[in-house]
């Protein structure tokens, strides 16, 4: 099953399971979403539960706050993640805070879905990775599945979670990522990283579509060097599985962190800061980061140079393996 189909069918299951769930967003109804992630859901559940909204992100998120307070389970969609900026004051200033502001009365069981990441040559402001900006907002959980099965398990957990979740779907993975997906009620807990490739010499830590890039780079460099190279899929940036990070870095002594966003103040920096706090005495080499650059996400002809690819991750792996302890 493709990732988009895993998402669609999970949304379907959750809608069937929980009548208080409501989906809202631009073009998610009749059109089934610009990536068909909501295809057929309006026909099945009605236009009052799968709602085509006006073109206004702040009110999509802002009404979700009120819907939640009224006892609904809102699952809004932002068509492309940089358009979450139009709703930033509602996300960072409201969604993330209403529970505390009301001391628990108004929980915000909102899951804001949005695609992100490079690789499809869309116009600007479609493919940016802004995870680090979300991650700096206390009160949000941030979930980034890398496989079709995790898309199901993490999406179901996110929707059922009583806290607000930013659910990031990899744009180029919608159709490219395929895999078996457990039937029915498959739940993956939030905050548990997955060691998708075990290894002892160095670990690549990443999430979402970059997990596949990491796997390939790891295989390539492992074949070249004979090293065993682990890949850790964080799955969630918040809650961050610090224990899993610490365990594998302590074991390997070397790490590379891959992040599609720009370098400065990237989430990769957070991972590195955490590593050096937790694993300082087991580190044998500086932790490398492979990220985008401190430039806007490039236009189509140039984007391949920006998004971390197998070549760049492999080079970082070689450099990290070669570094003297």
């Amino acid at each position: 099953m493709t990732m988009v189909e895993a998402i669609r069918s999970t949304l379907h299951n959750e809608m069937a399971r929980e009548e208080r769930m409501i989906m809202l967003g631009q073009d998610i109804g009749l059109n089934g979403g610009v990536f068909r992630a909501t295809d057929g859901l309006q026909a099945e559940f009605g236009a009052h539960r799968v709602v085509d909204t006006p073109l206004a992100e702040a009110v999509i998120v802002g009404t979700s706050v009120g819907l939640a307070a009224a006892g609904m389970i809102p699952v809004p969609e932002i068509q492309f993640s940089p358009f979450a900026w139009q709703a930033w004051h509602q996300i960072a200033g409201q969604v993330a805070r209403l529970r505390q502001r009301s001391q628990g009365r108004h929980g915000m069981p909102i899951t804001i879905r949005m695609p992100f990441g490079g690789g499809v040559r869309a116009p600007e402001l479609h493919q940016e990775s802004i995870v680090a900006q979300f991650a700096n907002v206390p009160g949000l959980k941030i979930v980034c599945p890398a496989s079709a099965a995790d898309a199901r398990g993490l999406l179901a957990s996110s929707i059922r979670d009583p806290d607000p979740v930013i659910f990031l779907e990899p744009l180029r993975g919608y159709r490219m990522i395929k895999g078996d997906v457990p039937d029915g009620d498959h739940l993956v807990p939030l905050g548990v990283a997955s060691l998708v490739v075990p290894g002892n010499d160095v670990v690549v830590i990443t999430w979402s579509a970059q997990v596949e890039v990491a796997r390939k780079a790891a295989a390539l460099v492992a074949a070249e060097t004979g090293a065993t190279i682990a890949v850790l899929d964080l799955r969630c940036l918040v809650p961050l599985d610090v224990a899993a990070i610490a365990a594998i870095v302590d074991q390997c002594g070397r790490a590379v962190v891959v992040d599609e966003g720009p370098l400065t103040s990237s989430f990769a920096a957070e991972v590195i800061a955490t590593i050096q706090e937790e694993c300082f005495y087991s580190l044998e080499a500086p932790v490398a980061r492979v990220t985008g650059y401190d430039t806007p996400f490039p236009t189509g002809l140039l984007e391949d140079g920006f998004v971390p690819d197998v070549d760049r991750v492999a080079r970082a792996l070689r450099r990290t393996l070669d570094a003297r302890p």
């Binding site: 006006p54 702040a58 009120g66 307070a69 200033g93 806290d163």
Partner: protein
């Protein structure tokens, strides 16, 4: 746009106790503001935003609502005037004033939403509440308060526009007190009236004398009837005046023209409604004295309770999440350890 004033309305159809209660609530509201202000000057209370001059708008609207079914979604100035929704509103607001984390934590049965500081952000939220009630087939409305200043924010327009599409049971009370801190409405918009903005949403827009508690009550009641009948939202511009400070941190003498202040002092809603009820033999000077006494008694009791309520130093870790991540639990632990050192 319809403009509504009530001078012609016959009060005899009103239950006298309701009229007296409205005046009492207005007197109490002002008194609360004065008390917060004085305590702030003494260093005992935090910043506050007085309701002085705008009591008729808030009290009139609140009395048109049913506290058991309807929601009030305030900005930050109305809380002192919401006695209609229970004494708990003021009790909680005393905590708010002190910077207590529970300062917007109204008890479950009090249908008042937390105070909003991010101006106009409450309007989409109120729409969501109204829409949610509609979806859940609950008979109720959401009434959202916001200022002339807030009406310049995109959130107001996005919400008004979507409300029109949804025909949600929403009442938008735009409190035009003619100032947003130091900014006069002439710099806020060139629209003929704020009520005119309803045209952009395809919904009714009504301008009402916001210093006339009966008029405000009636337009809100009418909007409520319309909303409950499934006929959608209403934008109500309550035209009033902020008679004092924006907040305790402000100095309006820098910018409010003296003439304007004088003119509006004469339109003060409290003497106005007092005179009306006195003429109708429903109020006496003794009532005014008694109203102040009761207001003070209530305020003293609630503020004292708030002063006695000290949060634990680590209380800001509460309620961030229902299921807090381990990392946050660790931070709380470290915080508490540090404090113990």
């Amino acid at each position: 746009m319809t403009v509504v004033e009530s001078s012609a309305v016959d009060l005899s159809s009103w239950p006298p106790e309701r009229l007296r209660q409205m005046l009492f609530d207005m007197v109490q509201a002002r008194r609360n503001s004065e008390r917060f202000f004085a305590l702030q000057r003494q260093g005992r209370a935090g910043t506050s935003a007085p309701i002085t001059g705008q009591e008729a708008t808030v009290v009139g609207a609140a009395h048109a609502l049913d506290p058991t079914t309807d929601w009030i979604v305030p900005q930050y100035r109305e809380q002192v005037a919401l006695a209609r929704f229970g004494e708990e509103v003021l009790a909680t607001h005393c905590l708010y004033n002190r910077g207590h984390p529970a300062g917007s934590a109204y008890p479950e049965h009090v249908r008042v939403f937390p105070a909003q500081i991010s101006l106009a952000a409450q309007i989409p939220q109120a729409l969501g509440l109204a829409w949610g009630m509609q979806l859940r087939k609950e008979q109720g409305v959401a009434a959202v308060f916001f200022g002339d200043g807030s009406s310049s924010e995109g959130d107001f327009y996005e919400a008004g526009n979507f409300a029109g599409v949804l025909k949600a049971p929403l009442i938008m009370v735009l409190v035009n007190n003619q100032w947003a801190i130091s900014t006069p409405t002439s710099k806020q918009t060139a629209a003929a009236t704020f009520a005119d903005k309803a045209k952009a949403f395809g919904i009714p827009g009504i301008r009402v004398d916001g210093n006339d508690v009966i008029a405000v009550h009636d337009v809100v009641a009418e909007a409520r009837t319309r909303a409950l009948a499934g006929n959608g939202p209403t934008l109500i511009e309550a035209f009033t005046f902020r008679m004092g400070y924006h907040t305790t941190a402000d100095d309006p003498s820098r910018y409010v023209p003296e003439d304007q202040a004088r003119e509006w002092a004469e339109r003060d809603p409290i003497p106005r409604f007092t005179a009306r009820l006195t003429n109708a033999a429903l109020w006496s000077e003794a009532d005014s004295t008694e109203a102040l006494r009761r207001a003070d008694e209530t305020f003293d009791r609630l503020f004292a309770a708030a002063e006695a309520n000290s949060p634990m130093p680590d209380a800001f870790f509460n309620h961030v999440f229902a299921n807090p991540p381990q990392r946050l639990l660790d931070q709380r632990h470290a915080f508490n350890e540090g404090r113990e050192q």
